[in-house]
């Protein structure tokens, strides 16, 4: 161990360090704004504490290896992985581990090219854009396609690994995706696994949390449920969860979007003038009209089932994204 440069003080006020870094602010906001996700929040606190202590140690001249910051977020769709990545970037920036704190979110399409010689410039371009911030790779396992040995994904992974190793000061990489697929991805890319220090698992939301999320989303848009509508929405969540392609908060947002459409149509078809309050309130009828309440979808020829037209635009239902 190297000798500290100046005689270090005997005690360090970590609380003061914490306040000065302005991380408390971000963590409190994380607690307040994100519903549920207790294990994730605890994990983020752990990481923030580690980085803070590390920074203090470094300043006192205590030998410490620079922490590896690359992370992996696993969890089902709609559990807040992207939102947390944004917050994580802010935390890292406040602590001085990344310079700019912006997030560049990409998927396979942004990294992997279509022909020989296309991948390397594409990947490097993305990496350059992400320098000084966080590179968030959604559904990272698609980078690796074992069934096709000519796939260019491997090339992207190699460039990525090289930068993750050599330019740790310039860039933090966060991989995200389903837990089981991510595990398989790491099995076939041990180099990637060994370079990722923090694995954070995102649990599914329960219905009460989803209800809370819905209320917050509506409040953001200046909408609200009336009492019957709220009860109906709880009912809706129970039905929706049992169906295929349930994507937690994302499904909630899509459902709310459709309910807003129904509400708009109801107001439009109803008598005018409309009360200001009515413009903000989603009623039970708006909720209950959902396709998910129909036990068997009506199959009358020439008559589309209620809501079908609107639901067709639900990204959850587009076939190529069926894994969502």
């Amino acid at each position: 161990m190297t000798q500290p440069l100046a005689a270090p003080p005997d005690t360090i006020d970590l609380a003061a360090e914490y306040r000065e870094a302005g991380v408390a602010d971000v963590l409190d906001r994380l607690d307040a704004e994100l519903v549920g996700l207790a294990p994730v929040k605890r994990r983020v606190r752990e990481i923030a504490a580690l980085l803070l202590v590390d920074r203090v140690r470094q300043r006192l001249g205590l030998n410490t290896t620079p922490p590896s910051l690359h992370m992996c977020f696993t969890g089902n769709p709609g559990t807040g992985k992207t939102t947390l990545a944004l917050r994580m970037a802010e935390i890292l920036q406040r602590l001085g581990y990344v310079r700019k704190g912006h997030v560049v979110a990409v998927t396979r399409d942004d990294l992997v090219g279509q022909y020989i010689g296309h991948t390397a410039p594409k990947t490097k371009d993305v990496l350059k854009r992400a320098m000084g911030g966080v590179l968030f790779i959604d559904e990272a396992y698609y980078l690796f396609r074992p069934e096709n040995e000519k796939d260019y994904g491997q090339e992207a992974i190699e460039i990525l690994l090289q930068v993750m190793e050599n330019q740790r000061d310039d860039l933090v990489v966060i991989l995200a995706g389903y837990a089981d697929r991510m595990d398989r991805f790491f099995e076939s890319n041990p180099g990637m696994k060994s370079r990722i220090a923090h694995h954070v698992e995102f649990p599914d939301y329960n219905n009460a949390e989803l209800g809370q999320i819905a209320e917050r989303m509506l409040a953001d848009w200046n909408y609200r449920f009336d009492a019957a509508g709220r009860a109906a929405f709880d009912d809706y969540l129970r039905h929706r969860r049992a169906k295929a392609h349930f994507a937690n908060a994302r499904s909630v947002r899509n459902a709310l979007d459709r309910m807003r459409l129904r509400q708009a149509l109801r107001l439009f078809d109803g008598e005018s003038p409309v009360a200001t309050d009515d413009l903000q309130i989603l009623t039970e009828a708006d909720v209950r009209a959902s396709r998910h309440f129909c036990p068997t979808p009506p199959t009358l020829i020439g008559q589309s089932p209620p809501d079908e037209e609107i639901d067709a635009y639900d990204p959850d239902r587009v076939p190529e994204r069926s894994d969502y």
Partner: protein, 141 residues
């Protein structure tokens, strides 16, 4: 003879930290940064060869510096400059350009006098290095 082209060329060579600070300034102004190199540094040679593409949407100088280091590795004995292009309507031109790499030995230029009709003299510049050897080997030591 030390070539003085672009900004900062009368100063001692910029360090990498200083170059990064200048690039950060360019990026803050949302100028697109590009790297160019040549071994024909005649003042009228406006268009140097580009190293890769101009870099758009960058937030941090680290990306440019890594490209610059790659260029230096390939062309250690060439002139390399950083250009910052402002795409704002009305400007649409290079706002900042400075040399970030130069050959270890710069023999410089000489004046060429050509006598014309009526004993008029035409003057021009000729680089010793360019006349000496073909492209790519001009500044090789």
């Amino acid at each position: 003879m030390r070539i003085t082209q672009g900004a900062f060329s009368f100063l001692p060579d910029l360090t990498d930290t200083q170059i990064a600070a200048q690039i950060d300034y360019c990026l803050r102004n949302q100028w697109a940064v590009a790297i160019e190199f040549t071994d024909d540094p005649h003042p009228r040679n406006t268009y140097w060869s580009m190293w890769g593409h101009p870099m758009f949407d960058l937030q941090d100088a680290a990306g440019v510096i890594s490209e610059l280091n790659a260029c230096r590795q390939s062309y250690p004995q060439h002139y390399i400059r950083v250009n910052a292009f402002d795409a704002t309507a009305g400007w649409e031109s290079v706002r900042l350009s400075f040399i970030v790499n130069r050959p270890s030995d710069e023999p410089g230029f000489r004046v060429v006098r050509r006598e014309g009709i009526g004993r008029t003299l035409h003057y021009t510049l000729e680089s010793y290095a360019v006349g000496r050897r073909p492209e790519g080997e001009r500044y090789a030591t």
